[in-house]
């Protein structure tokens, strides 16, 4: 763990109300993620992986506890400020790609840049660079419907990269792809982490995908129960988080 982690999650809990029933999704989660790390978040369905990812990425607010990102306490920001922060700080890759079907690959990647104060020329440069990085320079003007699943996910990754965020969160990015395409997407994510020093936070059910990460966090019933460094083989149980 580096001295100044990029992300700090401090005693975070998340609860929902379903009718009169209180659902505890996360409880007392403590976590630090270093910059340029590749972290996989694993666990059974309903364990709270995506909820934790949403909290770290500023898509949701914790019921209690605090979250810092690069020294900024994002758990204090309102929705509008969180939206502005996300544009610059976080890139998102989704399981089902979630590209806008009426826009071309180029336009989909350009979308987040429309929120920044950039000239059209600068936008174009960044979009072309992002699409080049994912190997799709030849598919600029194709719509999502004209692209394969793997290509759509590459467009999704280019869209996540285009604002040059420090963190890329990927929620089951290979969940809708075959084995070969999954491998290609994971290779791409790995190269982004290694070559561009991006911090990757990957939520997955797939052990093969998790194996690509440098660090694996396992969550169960809303609690972090395992923190494993894949390369050092270091293994730690978060027994202190279990209530």
């Amino acid at each position: 763990m580096s001295a100044q982690p990029l992300i700090v999650v401090d005693n975070v809990a998340k609860e929902y109300m379903r009718g009169s029933e209180r659902i505890v999704v996360l409880r007392d989660v403590n976590l630090e993620i270093a910059a340029a790390d590749f972290v996989a978040l694993i666990g059974p369905s309903g364990s709270g992986k995506t909820t934790l990812l949403n909290l770290i990425a500023g898509l949701d607010q914790p019921t209690s506890g605090r979250i810092w990102f690069d020294g900024l306490e994002i758990s204090k920001l309102d929705e509008a400020r969180l939206a502005r922060w996300r544009t610059n700080a976080v890139g998102f890759v989704f399981q089902f790609f979630h590209l806008i079907p009426v826009l071309t690959a180029y336009e989909n990647v350009e979308l987040p840049l429309l929120l920044l104060n950039l000239t059209a020329r600068r936008r174009r440069e960044q979009v072309l660079m992002a699409l080049d990085l994912v190997g799709l320079s030849h598919r600029l003007h194709h719509r999502p419907g004209q692209l394969s699943g793997g290509e759509q996910q590459r467009v999704g990754i280019a869209r996540a990269l285009v604002t040059d965020p420090k963190l890329i969160v990927a929620d089951e990015p290979t969940g809708d792809l075959d084995h070969v395409k999954s491998g290609e997407i994971l290779d791409l994510l790995q190269s982004l982490q290694q070559e561009l020093q991006k911090t990757i936070l990957l939520v997955t059910h797939d052990p093969a995908a998790a194996a690509r990460a440098r660090r694996v966090l396992r969550i169960d019933k809303g609690t972090l129960v395992e923190d494993r460094s894949m390369h050092s083989g270091r293994f730690r149980l978060f027994e202190w988080t279990v209530q």
Partner: protein, 389 residues
């Protein structure tokens, strides 16, 4: 610009739905435009200063009225009267079929101040008036009659009189009235009327133009008082009061018309709201994605409102333009004369209504998008993705 492009692309997603929504709005705007034109006409005539400073003098208890010609000097020499004219009604059939649909209503009057004394004749070609002054048997005929009878300027026609039996008169068309006020009328000279019918003793009504509304009120009460016990007794009202009297007779119809406009506007808003709601519901995930990418809720809301307003404005523009085009074509004789197109002669749609249609469409789009836009604003990213997962 890019946001506008996104709105346009969103509208093209489901072309059938967009087209059907636009068609519904277009039809409603066409109806709304004509209804609003009628209401606007009534409002203008009841409330304009010009109408309040003009007096209509007629016989109190008889219709059509018969004022003795000897009254004319007493009426027109009243203090404050700036100008005057008279009408003698001369009705009859325009061909031997003697069908009521072939009836014309002639108004014998002074030709020298024809334009000045008649509301709605501002656009009448002065050359037509000059021709009327030259040609004793001349008549300036409404555009509707010209079209219905397929007449041309310079042509002659005979009126088989129903108001003056055995006094059929032959006229020469010297001009065409602008559409609007006079639908089945024609103006001709008073001296020809007197000569042709032999009636020099009575007139149907007298119009007096006063300096202002206040003078008109004063002169009206003076005339009422002066002719209170005379035989026949006279009735004096401002032109706006005359219109108001007509309006009060048609009040129920006008009320219905107002309700029709209100219902049409509401209907348009519902149609647009329904269409935009469906589109918004279909795009909840995309809206969530836009939020994830950093689009603020207000921008998402603006996308929805913008889509509805653009669709409404374009449809409104097209609808009002169609209504104006139909009206113009009907007035200029390019559409067959029938009860449906005849309303355009009475209430021709002005070109400015096209802009009104676009604004109405945009307003309705705004109204219709409030609920869907609010729903879009409320889209919660985590909820949407949780449902997908």
């Amino acid at each position: 610009m890019k946001v506008l492009l996104l709105i346009l692309k969103n509208l093209r997603r489901n072309k059938l739905r967009t087209t059907l929504t636009a068609l519904a709005v277009i039809v409603m705007v066409v109806l709304c435009t004509e209804a609003a034109t009628v209401l606007f006409w009534v409002h203008q005539h009841v409330h304009t200063q010009a109408c309040q400073s003009k007096l209509l003098v007629s016989e109190r208890w008889v219709a059509p009225s018969c004022i003795p010609t000897r009254y004319l000097a007493l009426l027109t020499h009243q203090e404050g009267v700036e100008d005057w004219t008279l009408w003698n009604l001369y009705t009859g059939y325009l061909d031997t079929s003697r069908q009521s649909s072939r009836k014309g209503f002639g108004l014998a009057t002074r030709p020298d101040n024809l334009i000045a004394m008649h509301l709605g004749l501002e656009k009448l070609d002065p050359a037509a008036v000059e021709a009327l002054q030259r040609e004793k048997t001349g008549a300036i005929v409404s555009a509707d009659l010209m079209q219905q009878m397929n007449w041309k300027v310079g042509q002659q026609f005979t009126v088989l009189s129903s108001s003056h039996p055995h006094k059929d008169l032959r006229f020469k068309i010297v001009g065409v009235l602008p559409p609007g006020e006079y639908v089945r009328n024609f103006f001709f000279r008073q001296d020809y009327y007197e000569e042709g019918t032999g009636n020099k003793e009575t007139i149907t009504c007298v119009w007096l133009r006063l300096r202002d509304a206040e003078t008109a009120q004063r002169v009206a009460s003076r005339i009422q008082k002066q002719f209170q016990h005379s035989q026949p007794e006279l009735k004096v009202e401002t032109e706006s009061a005359g219109v108001a009297r007509f309006v009060s007779r048609e009040q129920a119809l006008l009320s219905v018309l107002k309700w029709v406009v209100a219902v049409l506007v509401l209907d348009m808003a519902i149609v647009l709201s329904n269409s935009i709601s469906v589109a918004t519901r279909e795009r909840r995930v995309e809206m969530a994605v836009l939020k994830v990418l950093g689009f603020e809720p207000v921008v998402i809301m603006a996308l929805v409102v913008g889509e509805a307003m653009l669709l409404g404005a374009v449809s409104g523009f097209v609808g009002a333009a169609l209504a104006w085009l139909s009206s113009t074509l009907a007035v200029h004789g390019f559409l067959p004369s029938n009860p449906a197109t005849r309303i355009f002669f009475s209430f021709p749609i002005q070109a400015a209504m096209v802009l009104w249609g676009a604004l109405l469409g945009a307003l309705v789009g705004f109204m219709g998008s409030i609920v869907p836009a609010w729903n879009a604003w409320q889209v919660k990213v985590s909820d949407v993705f949780a449902k997908i997962a």
